[in-house]
Point group: C2
Chain length 352, copies 2
C-alpha cells in the first residue's frame, strides 16, 4: 500500500471560534515533483491566530476578514504561492529533489498547506542551515522572532528607562518583543491571561504583567505606568488597544502588529479621537514582516543568536500532536489559552 498523505480540508465556515467539525481530516496522494520541484515532508507546522482570518465566512463566501479560502479547500498554513519559503508556516526535510540546490535530507521551510507531504518549486523553498533546531525555526529564530524584532527595532525603538507595554505577552510574538525591550534597557509591562501571567514575569523577566481576565486593564495601567506608555506593542487591537492609547506618553509609538481580538469579528471602528496623536506627537504604525526579509533577516538572526547564547532570550513552545488535535488547539490559541508558541508536530524531529 502506498504511503498516505494526511491532509486537512475546510468542512464548513466556522461560527466564531473554529471547532473540530469545521475541518475534515482526509487522505490524499503523495504528490510527485516535476523538474525544478522538491517534495518535502513537514515536521512542524506553526499554528497562528491569523489562520482564523483566512477561513471562509457564512454560506461559504470569503470571510469577513478578507479570507480567500472556501469550503472544500485545503487549509492554509502561511502564504500561498508564489510566496517564498520564509512566508511558510511549515518546516521539514527534503524527501525527493528535482532541483539542483536541494538534496534528500536537507532541512527546509516551505509549502503552505495543512499536509504532511508537499511539492514546491525549488526557487521558493528556503534551505535552513544544517545546525538548525527545527522547533526554533518557526518561532524564536524564524518568522515570529523576526516579527517581534522588526516591530521593536523599526517602530518601537525603545530607549533605556522607557516604559514598554506588550499585549499577548505570553504569545509567540509578545514573549520575544518584551525580552527585546528588556535587552534595550526598558521597563516592560505585559498583558496576558491564565498561567502565562506568572510565566511572563518569573521566567521571561518582564517587570510586571497584567492579568486581563482578572484585572481592569485601564486601572492596572494607571498604577503600573504612572508616567504613561512610551511604546505599546499591540498584538490584539480592540479594547486593550484603546486602554493603552489613552495612556500613551508624549512621543509614544504604537506598533500595530496584530489584532487577535478582532480576527473573529468584522473590522471595528477605532473608538477614540486621533487628536492625541497631534497633541502627544504619537506615531501609530503598522508593518508586514515579509517586506523586511531581504534587508534585515540576517541582522535579526545574528542578534537573536547572541541573546540566546547569553541566556537573555527564553521561549516556551507548546507542541500539539498531529492534525487531529490542531483545530482544538487553534481555538485555544484564539481564545488566549495557549501556553506559549504553538506548533503541530507531524513527524519525528531529526533535530530534536
Amino acid at each position: 500500500m502506498a504511503q498516505t498523505n494526511p491532509s486537512v480540508r475546510i468542512a464548513r465556515a466556522p461560527q466564531g471560534l473554529p471547532t473540530r467539525e469545521d475541518f475534515a481530516l482526509v487522505d490524499e496522494p503523495i504528490p510527485v515533483p516535476a523538474e525544478g520541484e522538491v517534495l518535502f515532508r513537514a515536521v512542524y507546522m506553526s499554528l497562528d491566530p491569523s489562520m482564523r482570518r483566512k477561513l471562509p465566512g457564512p454560506q461559504g463566501a470569503p470571510g469577513p476578514l478578507g479570507g480567500t479560502q472556501r469550503v472544500g479547500d485545503l487549509m492554509i498554513a502561511g502564504v500561498p504561492p508564489p510566496s517564498l519559503g520564509y512566508m511558510s508556516g511549515l518546516v521539514g526535510q527534503v524527501v525527493e529533489s528535482r532541483h539542483p540546490d536541494f538534496t534528500q535530507g536537507d532541512l527546509v521551510q516551505g509549502g503552505c498547506w495543512w499536509q504532511h507531504y508537499q511539492v514546491v518549486q525549488g526557487h521558493s523553498l528556503e534551505k535552513l542551515p544544517a545546525e538548525t533546531k527545527l522547533s526554533e525555526a518557526l518561532g524564536l529564530l524564524g518568522q515570529h522572532g523576526f516579527v517581534a524584532w522588526v516591530g521593536m527595532r523599526n517602530i518601537g525603538n525603545a530607549k533605556p528607562g522607557e516604559t514598554v507595554l506588550v499585549s499577548a505577552a505570553g504569545g509567540a510574538i509578545g514573549m520575544i518583543a518584551g525580552q527585546l525591550a528588556k535587552a534595550d534597557g526598558a521597563r516592560v509591562i505585559g498583558i496576558a491571561s491564565g498561567d502565562k501571567v506568572a510565566y511572563v514575569v518569573d521566567e521571561l523577566g518582564f517587570d510586571a504583567c497584567i492579568d486581563r481576565t482578572n484585572e481592569d486593564v485601564g486601572e492596572a495601567l494607571d498604577r503600573l505606568c504612572p508616567d504613561g506608555i512610551d511604546v505599546y506593542f499591540d498584538n490584539v487591537g480592540g479594547q486593550v488597544m484603546l486602554a493603552a492609547y489613552d495612556r500613551m506618553a508624549d512621543f509614544g509609538r504604537i506598533v500595530i502588529c496584530g489584532m487577535a481580538s478582532e480576527y473573529n469579528a468584522v473590522e471595528l471602528p477605532f473608538g477614540a479621537s486621533l487628536r492625541p496623536v497631534l497633541r502627544k506627537r504619537l506615531r501609530i504604525e503598522g508593518f508586514v514582516v515579509y517586506d523586511h526579509y531581504a534587508d534585515q533577516f540576517a541582522e535579526f538572526q545574528a542578534e537573536m543568536k547572541a541573546l540566546i547564547a547569553e541566556g537573555r532570550m527564553k521561549y516556551r513552545i507548546e507542541v500539539i500532536d498531529g492534525f487531529e488535535n490542531a483545530p482544538e488547539a487553534l481555538a485555544r490559541l484564539l481564545d488566549g489559552r495557549n501556553k506559549g508558541k504553538m506548533i503541530v508536530q507531524l513527524a519525528p524531529d531529526p533535530t530534536g
Copy 2:
C-alpha cells in the same frame, strides 16, 4: 496725553464661530520694561485657526478643546511665557531695551497677546536678521513654513512620482506643504474651497485641487488618485481625513498637522478601523513644531530661501487692518474663507 496701547480682551465665550461681540477692544497702559526686559511694538500678528482652541467654553470655564483662557483675559497670540520667541505670533520692532542683546529698532519676534506694545524677557525674544521681510517672518520663513517643512520632511518624506494629498491647500501651511512636495518631484493634489481652488492650481502649481464645497471629496479622490494616496498631509481632520484614510496606498504616511474642522467641536472619535494601518503598513504620526526649532530651523530656512530664490515657492498673504477687523477675520479663517495666510497689521511695516 500718554501714547495708548490698543489691546483685545475676551468679552464672552464664543458659541461656535467667534464673532466681534466675543471680544472687547480696550486701551491699556504701555508697560515699562524692567532690567533684562524689552519693550517692543508689534507690526504684524498672525491669525491662526488654533486660536479658537484657546478660547473659553460656556460659563467662562476653560474651553472644551483644552483652552486655558477665561473671560476678561487678554486674547492670546502664540504660546504664553515662559515660551521662546519662535512660539510667538507677533513680529515687530524694539522700542526700548534693558537687555544687552537688543537695541532700539531691532526686528524681533516675541510676545503673546493681542496688544500693540508688549514687554518680554530679553532671553525669550527672538532677534530676526536685519534683512528680514517682516510679512514673511510669520509665514513662509517662520512658523508656518517650518510646520509644513517638518511635517513633509520628517514624516511625509514624499518620493518622486508619489501622490501627495494636502488639505486646506490654500491655507498658510497647506500652500507650503504642497509646494515642498512638488519640489520633491511628487504629484500633488490639494483640497480647498472658494477662490483658493483655482489659486492652488494656477499660481502654486499643484497638479489638481478638489473643491470641498462643490465636490464629493471621496469621488474626486477616487478619480484623481486611482493608485491611492502615498502621503496625506492633514490640516483638517474630520470627514476629509476619513475620505483620505480610506484611499491610502500601501506604505502610506498620514501627517497629522492640524484638525481645523474640529476646533469648534469636542474631540470626535476616529470613525474607521485601524486595521488598514496593519494591512497597508501605514504610518500615522503627529508632531508639534516647537520640538524641532533647535535641531532643524536653520536647515529649513536655508532650503526655503533657495526655493524662493528659484521662484519655486509662492505664498499669498491676506493683510487685515487692525484689531477692529481681527475677530471677523478669525471667523472667516475658521470657516475656510481666508485668501491665504492671514496677518493683522498693527503698525506701519518698516521692511515693507
